[in-house]
């Protein structure tokens, strides 16, 4: 049991430091120290994951099979901790706005991240539920953290819908548990394989409820409604964090649950179609709603719905010959690319908002290209990547995912995906147009803007480099994703 604690290392670091921060907050007022500690914890978590990877712990199960440390989990641990690092790094301004709640803010980010990491490594329904709730509750609070009228409303809506979603999820889990008699994913799979016949309705009801619950986290239409409101109301770093980390973990658990527990052919045919349909709906809903948004955060929220739809393509592409590997590794690869890209976009948005008096109106971006060319170039680059244009991370992610679709005989899905790329271009290009093409109404705005904080700039540099590196040399990441999913499907 004690040796199992070793496996918990990455999360434990976060939880312990999170607890420490809650207390330290009372004594330490310097924001930089708190942030430093937080970042150190996240870095430690990443390093610990790396150690687990290299020290031969891969594949170990811990805590009676509740937790597993495989490459899949480690992939997500690193990804999530990285995303959290970026979120913390860009939170300078946010923390200046809430001087009396810094410890809580950072601690909640850490708790939430730990929850997401645990989610990626969970192999037990109860663990999944608790991990999910840990991260959800932390996020509810973080969304409402500004306590202004938008934040509180966003937080409340997120909480209420989230509570309903988790109730639905629990109902699904309850059915699954009652039917199969186990909370362990592999035992569930065993049961379905041997005794599942004739119980498709119940199993599918459970599966549907699980999809609803996890899909809610992943902001897949039609479970996406909270996302725009929460993103809009939340402090922007949190919106960034939600859009990438939450989604990543949700897909991690979707892959794990649906491949490990419900991967039997009895059900797979059904949910393959379900995912394909959801992917389609998500892409269209996200893109259509995004077109008319003027608030860039909200636009990105809807775009994240569409991106979730794109990711769903990978889930749908399961039953083909190599579909399992291809689909799942496609999701991982895409998620990584999407994460860095979206973070890059959000980082710039934060920087611009800081200079802009906190405005997120796309129209106020007019002339930004002249005022701060580098920020604009990075944002434009990130948005172009989000469209899926080369040479960026998402470009290859899309190609990869669409290939999985084609390989599973879902070529129509690839076409829909690319047509949606077209629709998405219409709104992703709007800020680009505003920044570079429109000119600011008044010339005063051309005055030099305050210099953003170094940490934010550094983050921007890092994630942009990430976008570019993944875009130019996707091979490494693809191989990593491949190795990660091989752990599940071997």
């Amino acid at each position: 049991m004690l040796s199992d604690v070793n496996l918990l290392g990455p999360e434990l670091v976060l939880l312990v430091v999170g607890g420490f921060l809650l207390i330290a907050d009372l004594f330490i007022k310097d924001r930089r120290i708190l942030m430093g500690v937080t970042l150190a914890a996240l870095l430690g978590s990443i390093l610990y994951s790396a150690v687990l990877l290299t020290e031969g712990h891969v594949g170990s199960q811990g805590f009676g099979g509740v937790l597993v440390v495989d490459k899949f989990a480690i992939f997500f641990q690193i990804l999530l901790a990285g995303a959290a690092m970026a979120a913390v790094l860009v939170s300078t301004e946010t923390m200046q706005r809430t001087p009396s709640r810094r410890g809580e803010y950072l601690a909640l980010i850490l708790f939430s991240t730990a929850g997401l990491q645990l989610l990626a490594g969970s192999r037990d329904l109860i663990m999944i539920f608790i991990a999910l709730e840990l991260t959800s509750i932390s996020q509810y609070i973080l969304v409402g953290f500004y306590k202004d009228r938008w934040g509180s409303e966003g937080g409340l809506k997120y909480l209420l819908t989230g509570a309903v979603a988790s109730a639905v999820l629990l109902y699904g889990m309850a059915i699954l548990l009652g039917l199969t008699g186990s909370t362990n994913l592999s035992e569930i799979a065993n049961y379905i394989a041997w005794q599942g016949d004739g119980k498709e309705e119940a199993l599918m009801l459970a599966a549907v409820f699980l999809i609803a619950g996890f899909g809610f986290k992943a902001a897949v239409a039609p479970f996406q409604m909270w996302a725009p409101d929460a993103y809009t109301g939340a402090p922007t770093p949190i919106a960034a964090y939600l859009s990438v980390a939450s989604k990543a973990a949700a897909f991690a658990i979707l892959i794990r649950v649906f491949f490990e527990a419900l991967g039997d052919d009895l059900l797979a045919e059904h949910w393959k179609t379900i995912f394909a349909v959801l992917a389609t709906i998500s892409m269209f809903v996200g893109n259509f709603f995004a077109i008319r948004q003027n608030n860039i955060k909200r636009m990105l929220a809807y775009s994240s719905v569409a991106q979730a739809g794109t990711l769903m393509i990978g889930l749908a592409a399961i039953s083909a010959d190599r579909g399992e590997l291809l689909g799942a590794s496609g999701i991982l690869f895409y998620l990584a690319g999407y994460t860095v890209t979206n973070l890059a976009a959000f980082t710039v948005i934060i920087l611009i908002a800081n200079q802009n008096g906190g405005s997120y109106d796309i129209r106020s971006y007019a002339g930004m290209g002249k005022k701060s060319p580098w920020l604009s170039i990075v944002l434009a680059f990130a948005l172009i990547s989000l469209i899926g244009l080369p040479p960026t991370a998402v470009f290859f992610g899309k190609i990869y995912l669409f290939e999985t679709a084609v390989q599973s005989g879902l070529a129509w899905l690839a076409v829909i995906g690319t047509v949606n790329t077209l629709i998405s271009a219409a709104y992703y290009l709007r800020p680009v147009k505003a920044m570079f093409i429109d000119s600011a109404d008044d010339e005063d705005e051309a005055a030099p803007l305050p210099r953003p904080s170094t940490s934010v700039l550094a983050t921007m540099g890092l994630v942009t480099a990430g976008v570019l590196v993944i875009g130019l040399h996707p091979g490494l990441l693809i191989n990593a994703a491949e190795a990660a999913v091989a752990a599940i499907f071997s």
Binding site: F111, G115, M127, I137, I141, K147, D361
Partner: protein, 206 residues
Amino acid sequence: MSDFGFHLAFWSLGAMTIGGASMILISRNLIHAVIWLVMSMLGVAGLYLTLSADFIAVVQVLIYVGAISVLMLFAIMLTPRAERDNSQNIKTAGPAGLVVLMVMIATMWVAIDTDWGAVREAALTEQARLIGESLIKHYILPFEIGAVLLTAALVGAIALARQDDEDAAIHAASLQAELEGEGAVDPVDVVDPPIAADASDSEASS
């Protein structure tokens, strides 16, 4: 427990549960609704007893009836009388009814139609011990994480409910906007709240 007693207990407790829940639906006052919720919860606790889940029943009574409903009542009491309205949102009630009908068909069908496996006659004994053992052995990790979760919720709830210095201005601004009748606002107007002047922040002053 005799068969008849069992029947009587099930039906009456079931009626209490469902009746309580239905009364929540109907009652116009939020405080009444919470009280009906308590009744429904008690009904559920009773049902747990009929299922020989003594420990859970106790927990149910303690936490739901004892803690959650009191918490809700407190929250309700913090709001003025006008906000204690528990009426239906007629705009959503219609579609909600339709969807609930679908959910009901689905869940009940599954509940009735599915073969749930062998029916065991003997109930679990020594539940409290077993659950406790399970929690610190098999489910130690969820247990610990659950603790963190409660901590996080606690800290978060405090952080939210506590009125910090910087919040006053924000609330005041919100109320001002509210008074000016800005009902629905294009989300474009969302702007970050102003940065609080904080002397303790070394960077803000430098």
